[in-house]
């Protein structure tokens, strides 16, 4: 068995296969619903309704996509340089932590606090990834493992802060940080609904990353280092420095997810701020084939499937866990479909 490239795939393939992936996901949904004794025919409608059936639903989808765009971009940037950053989760928390510290401890007025919080977050996330990258470039320590392990260390560190120095004195003992003052929060885009300016920031970042990757020397260097570090070094590209810059960019983007969740949505920091946005970011980035604008689309896809399926689980009264099953199934079907738009599997 081997994959053979398809010279000029037609629209039937490029559009049909992704559609097929969605259809397959729907079929899985129907099957699971039937297993739970619900009406399998309703599931598709309920998913669509839950993800995009109303203004509320649509904005919720955008809302859930916001942190995924940030973490997806973070991963896309890093993976381009073959820097396997599995630690977006920790960088996200680093960003959230600094956001809260600056926002609640310095007593700055909002217009001053918000940019400072964002900058601080970026810096924190960047530093978070800098360590593993320096270990990689200086000592050759595998960054997959160091970034992965840092996620656990960060989670424990946050947990300690929230039960110790950063605990909200007004929180009745519950481990959470004090809340940001009203004026230090990102305004809502639509009054009364949760969508906030973090989403707009995410879109701007996607465009920015796209510009960096395609139009700047840094983007060129990052790609060169990722594809062939030996040739890059020979050509005079400072490989170590490029990796460090990549790390700063990637860590900073992941940290913005934390900033945006805290300043835009939650207002404070808890140890369960992120339901795995850092990990899902990897999936989002790969689904987008590491293209920064594709990240936006794939984040919306991932968020839509989750929000829709989650809502369907309630409407159809089937166990909540169906949402994660469908998200996973949709992802796997979709990456496969995207591959098969360009390749076919042949014998021999």
């Amino acid at each position: 068995m081997r994959l053979e490239p398809i010279p000029a795939p037609g629209p039937a393939r490029t559009l049909g296969l992704p559609a097929l992936a969605i259809a397959a996901t729907v079929a899985v949904a129907a099957l699971l619903a039937a297993l739970a004794g619900a009406n399998p025919l309703q599931t598709f409608g309920l998913i669509v309704k839950g993800a995009a059936g109303s203004r509320f639903a649509m904005l919720e989808t955008l809302n859930r996509a916001t942190p995924l765009i940030f973490t997806g971009l973070a991963v896309a940037v890093a993976f381009r340089a073959k820097l396997w950053n599995i630690g977006a989760e920790a960088q996200l928390y680093a960003g959230a932590l600094v956001t809260v510290v600056i926002g609640t401890q310095l007593g700055l007025p909002g217009p001053l606090a918000i940019p400072l919080m964002a900058l601080g977050a970026i810096l924190a996330g960047a530093l978070m990834l800098l360590g593993p990258v320096l270990l990689k470039t200086r000592l050759g320590v595998d960054e997959v493992v160091t970034t992965l392990l840092l996620n656990f260390i960060m989670a424990l560190f946050i947990s300690w802060l929230l039960e110790g120095p950063l605990k909200d004195p007004m929180g009745m003992g519950w481990p959470k940080s004090p809340a940001l003052p009203r004026d230090a929060r990102l305004p809502r885009i639509v009054e009364g609904l949760r969508l906030h300016w973090g989403f707009a920031m995410a879109l701007i970042c996607a465009a920015g990353v796209w510009l960096i990757q395609t139009r700047t020397t840094l983007g060129y260097e990052i790609r060169a280092v990722g594809q062939n570090p030996q040739a890059a070094r020979f050509a005079g590209i400072p490989v170590g420095r490029v990796l460090v810059k990549t790390a700063l960019l990637s860590g900073g983007l992941a940290a913005l997810a934390g900033f945006s969740e805290v300043a835009g949505l939650k207002g404070n920091l808890t140890s369960d701020l992120s339901p795995g946005f850092g990990y899902t970011g990897i999936v989002v980035a790969m689904l987008a084939l590491l293209h920064p604008l594709g990240v936006v689309v794939s984040a919306l896809f991932v968020a839509g499937i989750f929000v829709g399926a989650d809502s369907m689980s309630r409407a159809a009264e089937v166990p909540t866990y169906i949402a994660d099953i469908l998200l996973a199934a949709a992802l796997l079907f979709m990456v496969l479909a995207i591959l098969l738009t360009r390749f076919r599997l042949v014998r021999g």
Binding site: L3, L156, I322, A323, A328, L331, L332, L339
Partner: protein
């Protein structure tokens, strides 16, 4: 300091180390097999969950304990087959597929559990594996408690390391498997099928991971809980690197990790436990893993073709 010494010389501490290490050993061996063949299997966390569920459910539904282990293994192999299908012939990103499998396996286990036991509030229990009483040995003073009060599954975990070591380094199959992770072109040029070898490795490795999960519900404990795997799979990924892709060293890593875990549990009760926040103790194993990686980094030999898909007829 003397407190730590006291802990270290107590037999029960060592018994705990072996217990805590057992699921890690199974899963680490599973991951090691996959990575030796060139496939990073990030599905490990979910595959452990499905193993924990399938094994337990089998026994709960009336099956025997060993049947449960077998079913857990089969369930893990099924998800391994899916992982292998997507990453080997299709060559999809091992990161995405792994995380996808983790998500899929975990949520499938939860969904199935909820469908099977909708009205549960007190999680039901099974009669788990009991410590084997080895006449003579189990009664030995210190050793008896430290080593010979373990369940059959713990023994199986250690046997598993021996078998994996033997197969990898002493048999034609192991040679082919290692070569697939070093240079798939070499394997193909010697007339073997890289695809079949990698598929086999991922499937068998996933089976072992699932047994690691089953250990949690069938030996370490007796019920199935959501989230009870609790990141152990990710630890195993680190342990494989820590062990420089060698079963013996990885075993050592698992024991070390379990040792720190057992130690931190005990240290929390000491004078130190009063001053140092418990999170710091929980962090120790992770911090030490990183430290160990740094110390060993120069010598680690990554399988050269790890994470590189192989497609016949492409250079």
């Amino acid at each position: 300091m003397t407190e730590i010494l006291d802990i270290l010389i107590s037999a029960s501490f060592w018994a705990a180390v072996l217990r805590i290490a057992s699921p890690l050993i199974f899963a680490t061996m599973g991951e090691l097999i996959c990575e030796r063949a060139g496939v990073l299997n990030l599905g490990i966390e979910g595959i452990m969950v499905i193993g924990a569920f399938a094994g337990w459910m089998t026994v709960y539904a009336g099956g025997g304990l060993w049947t449960g282990v077998a079913v857990a293994m089969l369930a893990g192999m099924a998800f391994g087959a899916l992982h292998g299908l997507l990453t080997v012939p299709f060559g999809l990103s091992q990161h995405v597929v792994g995380l996808g499998i983790t998500m899929l396996a975990t949520s499938s286990a939860y969904y199935a559990y909820r469908l099977a036991l909708p009205e549960v509030t007190n999680p039901p229990r099974i009669a788990p594996f009991q410590p084997l009483d080895i006449p003579g040995l189990s009664d030995l003073p210190w050793i008896g408690q430290a080593l010979f009060s373990q369940t059959a599954l713990t023994w199986a975990a250690f046997a598993c390391v021996a078998v994996v070591t033997f197969v990898l380094f002493r048999t034609p199959l192991g040679l082919a498997l290692r070569a697939a992770g070093e240079n798939p072109h070499a394997v193909e040029a010697q007339g073997l099928s890289v695809g079949a070898i990698r598929m086999g490795a991922v499937i068998v490795g996933s089976g072992l991971m699932a047994v690691g999960g089953a250990f949690l519900t069938m030996s370490a404990f007796s019920s199935f809980f959501f989230e009870m795997v609790n990141g152990r799979g990710w630890i195993c990924i680190a342990l494989v690197v820590f062990g420089a892709w060698k079963p013996g060293k990885a075993l050592l890593g698992a024991l070390l990790f379990a040792g720190f875990d057992a130690l931190q549990v005990r240290l929390q009760q000491t004078g130190m436990g009063q001053i140092v926040p418990y999170q710091v103790f929980l962090m120790i194993p992770y911090l030490l893993s990183i430290l160990a990686l740094v110390l060993m980094s120069r010598r680690a030999e990554v399988p050269a073709a790890l994470m590189t898909p192989f497609n016949r007829g492409e250079r």
